[in-house]
Amino acid sequence: MTAAVVPALAVYALRLGDDCLVLSQRLSEWTARAPELEEDVALTNIALDLLGQARLLLSYAGEVEGRGRDEDALAFRRDEREFLNCQLVEQLSGDFGQTIARQLLFSTYQHQLWRVLCGSIDPTLSAIAARSVKEAAYHCDHAAKWTLRLGDGTEESHRRMQAGLDAMWPFAAELFERDPLVGDLAGRGVAVDPPRLRPAWDAAVLAVVSEATLAVPDTAWAPTGGRSGLHTEALGHMLAEMQHLHRSHPGARW
């Protein structure tokens, strides 16, 4: 699949949907392993919200693409290079500090994204965004509260939260990149122009980081490529586990 033969709208829906799907899979790794029961439930619920959003977006991408691929075909039958998620969401969950850092950076971005996408002229994207923005608000709040608790907590929790932030921060730059495809869709009122989300993201994230007595990482490294199918090593391993059952037993049903 290349952007040349697939309608831009389908590619855009896949980008949004793959972010949700990959992060959902990552968060579900915490199920039954979180530091406390309430947290287990919280991360699993957030993963479920993201999975629901992914299903809506992948179904829509398949419909727009018009090649007969449904949500399952798109989730389980594509190879790594066909996934269009940002690299941030595929990063290893690491310890709890690293997971929370990833949540803070991504959910703050996604909340802004849904908020603006509510105004899309595409009625399906607009409806999905209006549905999802309310869920994302809880995700942001969850991440912010844990960032405060860990950053302004003990010496060890502070050190780990800062390490998580240091590891995730470079991957946030990709969230705000504009390429010709999204630029064109944004110009037509269908998509959100990513750079437009940066000021609100900066304000929200910096407020939390600063209150949590953490430091914004000083780095100019800004890896990119996820939106065109280039990924870090972490994604392939994750997909191998996620897709194993479906590929081993094609067409299997519960």
């Binding site: 439930v41 919280a42 957030i46 919200d49 999802s132 991440a143 405060l148 929200a204 407020a207 939390v208």
Partner: protein
């Protein structure tokens, strides 16, 4: 998870989950899916048919019907076909497929052969759609019903993450003793649509259906 016919005993709330809420049905008729055969004009279903669908229980809180919860948007007939619009409470609500199957089974029992159940997303479901009867039933089950969305839910516009770690106090009244001296323990409970609280007066934990 399958819907239990009839009304369960009180106390089933421990496993309660996704309330699919139904928004008070809008009266407008939505466009049929493009390409679907038009078997005539869509008209509002008879009260008997609508009541039967409305009474389909939520799989997780079976004391409540899908109309109580605002999940049911509209029931129409188009010739021989019956069309039902439902909306999910949350994007990932796992109860939707069970609800869909229960609606189909309910209509089949009434001799309807041609059934279409559609999921509509717009406008998004809100707890403001839970009926007064639904709120009373939630309270009876020991689940504190939601307040108005405008008061409790972070607004889409200028919302920023809260920077306080103090537990939310006095957010909802205890469904057991009525005291307003309560703490929020966790914003996520047994399901995404509920949060976990404790009452500082009677000491009991309880769930709250989050305004959403």
């Amino acid at each position: 998870m399958t819907a239990v016919p009839g009304v369960p005993a009180p106390g089933d709330e421990a496993s309660s989950s996704e309330l699919c809420l139904a928004v008070a049905a809008s009266s407008e008729v939505r466009d049929a899916v493009a390409g679907a055969p038009e078997a005539g004009e869509a008209v509002a279903a008879s009260p008997e048919l609508r009541d039967a669908v409305a009474a389909v229980p939520d799989p997780e809180i079976p004391a409540l019907g899908i109309a109580d919860l605002g999940i049911l948007r509209e029931v129409r007939t188009r010739g021989e076909r019956v069309e039902v619009d439902i909306t999910p409470t949350y994007s990932g609500c796992p109860a939707m497929e069970a609800i869909r199957a229960d609606i189909v089974a309910t209509l089949r029992r009434r001799g309807v052969a041609d059934i279409e159940v559609r999921t509509v997303l717009s406008p998004p479901w809100s707890t403001d759609s839970i009926s007064e009867a639904g709120r009373r039933k939630l309270l009876d089950l020991g689940i504190a019903p939601p307040g108005p969305v405008s008061r409790l839910v972070p607004e889409h516009g200028e919302w920023r993450p809260g920077l306080s770690l103090l537990p939310l106090r006095n957010l909802v009244a205890c469904p057991h003793c009525g005291s307003s001296d309560t703490d929020e323990v966790s914003r996520f409970s047994s399901t995404a649509c509920k949060s976990l609280h404790r009452c500082r007066s009677c000491g009991e934990p309880f769930e709250h259906f989050k305004a959403h």
